[in-house]
């Protein structure tokens, strides 16, 4: 969607739920967070839930989203966004609670929370940005760093003999969550599909079915030290070869 600005300049429309005062946002040029958060913003607008939700964000680059939306928001500790929104939802089930985090927050320091929230089928929506490294701290190996990939703590490439294989988070959540869960993996390379996943993940919470989890493949050109072409190639080819796109769990349609 585009809108006409002064002097015949076209500019993409900003989601209504975005907080204009904090734009332009603080993510690096080429970062995928902006795309994910735009898709989330549009999904919030389309579902009309801006006034009914709480947005929680983790530590790492995702914390830069703390004032991103015109939505009640809380920035928590590293890995602890899942329990914070779980605590809210348990106390006030009428709230729509969204946790936004990176791969470190979800699959490393907060993995016990993600795993157990999935097992308990917590009625929250978790959106996780997978960019294969720890961006905020300067590009260390993450649970999602691809085999052989160079990072600051794997300067000669990730050795899977020493560090194991990348975490397949969506598959893990899908494996342990009971019926009612929604689990998908999208990519910033296909924003329309990603928005569809995020919207379904929110709707699944609104319907009270179970946990909703969307992993978003994303780019980190600053730490990857890649140009635009290399960045997109990595997201579209290397990452999708390991992290399969699509819906892993969809709740069964209710009988009418």
């Amino acid at each position: 969607m585009q809108e006409l600005k002064e002097n015949m300049v076209f500019q993409p429309a900003m989601p209504k739920s975005w907080n204009e005062e904090t734009k332009p946002h603080k993510f690096c040029p080429g970062c995928g967070h902006g795309i994910i958060l735009k898709m989330l913003g549009e999904a919030i607008d389309e579902l009309g839930i801006q006034e009914k939700m709480i947005f929680g964000c983790d530590i790492g680059c995702s914390l830069l989203a703390w004032d991103f939306f015109k939505v009640d928001s809380v920035q928590t500790h590293h890995g602890r966004t899942t329990p914070v929104v779980t605590g809210m939802k348990r106390a006030h089930p009428e709230l729509i609670c969204v946790a936004y985090m990176g791969d470190g927050g979800g699959y490393a320091i907060g993995s016990q929370h993600l795993f157990n929230a999935a097992v308990r089928n917590e009625r929250v929506t978790i959106i996780l940005c997978n960019n294969c490294n720890y961006g905020m701290t300067g590009g260390q190996m993450a649970p999602t760093t691809l085999p052989g990939m160079k990072t600051e703590t794997t300067p000669y490439g990730r050795d899977v003999e020493l560090t194991g294989y990348p975490t397949k988070g969506s598959e893990m959540v899908a494996a342990v969550a009971p019926e009612g869960a929604y689990v998908a993996r999208g990519t910033v390379a296909n924003p329309r599909q990603l928005k569809g996943f995020i919207k379904k993940a929110l709707q699944n919470q609104i319907d009270g079915n179970g946990i909703s989890f969307v992993e978003c493949l994303s780019g980190c050109p600053t730490n990857w030290r890649t140009n635009a072409k290399q960045t997109w190639e990595f997201i579209e080819k290397e990452m999708t070869a390991y992290f399969k796109l699509g819906e892993l769990r969809v709740p069964q349609a209710k009988e009418v």
């Binding site: 703390w66 009640d72 602890r80 006030h92």
Partner: protein
């Protein structure tokens, strides 16, 4: 004994853990988040049994980190919420307590101290004094009530919810395994029937009555100066709160040569020792901080004016002494420590220690 209820004042005989569960019901708490660890387990056991009757909620989390952060989420959404833990669980909960200090969250933690360091014993100590008063990477912007009887466990658990929601600092009730597990008589009551106002919780985020303005809560700051302002503002409000919240018990200190100073359950032994020694004609005083944060430093200074010695008895190795020395900096009174980490302390032992002075 008939059915226990809060409909009118009732004399009961119960464990400290059961007492806490009843106090949380009496304080109109909405939800408990918890993870099993001895010696606090029965708080969860009684809470979950009382839940259906009183319309309460409970979530058993995957660990104490999660219990602390679900608690943070609960209070942010406007629920009167609490958790309970001990020992290594207390260590893990300090992360959420530190966030609660920064973001001014009225989270209530019940601590039933066990032995330390590490897993140690499941039984008893006062070795969580330092971590409960100053745990986390902050300035101790919190309230800590140290109880000594079951009646106090009941009264101060209710007070903890009120203080937390009135001043918006994380609030701890510091008990111990002895208080948790032993049974003794106390009176339970509906605080509102006694004219005690219960501070109402309200949503910090989420659906609010006015609805219009959005709030962005954070605990991360960009510059040193920005952080300094926030911490100093919290410090100023903490000091303002401290004057209203600080509590202590001081007896016979005015003409005393020796003051026996204790906190928590050890105060029961101290009280007994003071009585015995005074009956024998000794000039002995009794001083007990009830709030360890804020510490009643000024009140202690006033109480020891005539004293030559302070005998400090604690079931840890100098954690209470540290708080006292900090409060009495510059005073020339002699401090005689009686340090028994992880051990209970009896009246007789304190009397013996006094006789060695």
């Amino acid at each position: 004994m008939g059915e226990v209820s809060l409909s009118s004042e009732q004399r009961v005989f119960m464990t400290g853990n059961e007492t806490v569960a009843w106090a949380a019901i009496a304080a109109k708490a909405d939800i408990m988040y918890g993870y099993p660890i001895t010696p606090q387990n029965e708080i969860m056991h009684y809470w979950t049994r009382l839940m259906p009757k009183y319309g309460k909620k409970f979530l058993q989390t995957e660990d104490e980190i999660s219990a602390g952060f679900t608690l943070a989420g609960g209070v942010i959404s406007g629920a009167k919420a609490f958790t309970a833990t001990a020992g290594p669980g207390n260590v893990l909960m300090q992360e959420s307590a530190s966030m609660a200090e920064m973001m001014r969250l009225p989270a209530v933690y019940i601590i039933q101290q066990r032995g330390g360091p590490s897993t140690a014993t499941v039984i008893y100590s006062q070795q969580e004094t330092t971590i409960t008063t100053f745990g986390g990477n902050g300035e101790g912007h919190r309230i800590v009530f140290s109880t000594s009887t079951h009646q106090e466990l009941f009264d101060y658990t209710i007070k903890a919810f009120n203080s937390a929601w009135a001043y918006r600092f994380p609030t701890f009730v510091l008990g111990d395994g002895y208080q948790a597990k032993m049974r003794e008589p106390l009176t339970i009551y509906d605080p509102e029937q006694r004219g005690i106002n219960l501070v109402k919780p309200e949503p910090i985020l989420g659906i609010r009555p006015n609805g219009s303005k959005f709030t962005h809560l954070r605990n991360t700051y960009n510059t040193e100066e920005e952080l300094y302002k926030v911490v100093m503002a919290n410090q100023a409000e903490w000091e303002e709160m401290a004057k209203k919240v600080v509590e202590w018990d001081s007896r016979d200190c005015e003409q005393a040569d020796v003051i026996i100073l204790t906190h928590g359950v050890v105060s029961r032994a101290a009280l007994g020792a003071c009585q015995q020694l005074r009956e024998q004609g000794h000039k002995v005083g009794y001083f007990r901080p009830i709030t360890l944060r804020p510490f009643p430093g000024e009140q202690l200074k006033a109480a020891i004016k005539q004293a030559k010695k302070i005998l400090i008895a604690e079931s840890s190795y100098g954690q209470l002494v540290k708080l006292v020395e900090n409060a009495l900096y510059g005073s020339t009174v002699e401090i005689v420590p009686m340090l028994r980490p992880g051990l209970g302390i009896t009246t007789e032992e304190i009397v013996d220690e006094y006789n060695k002075l």
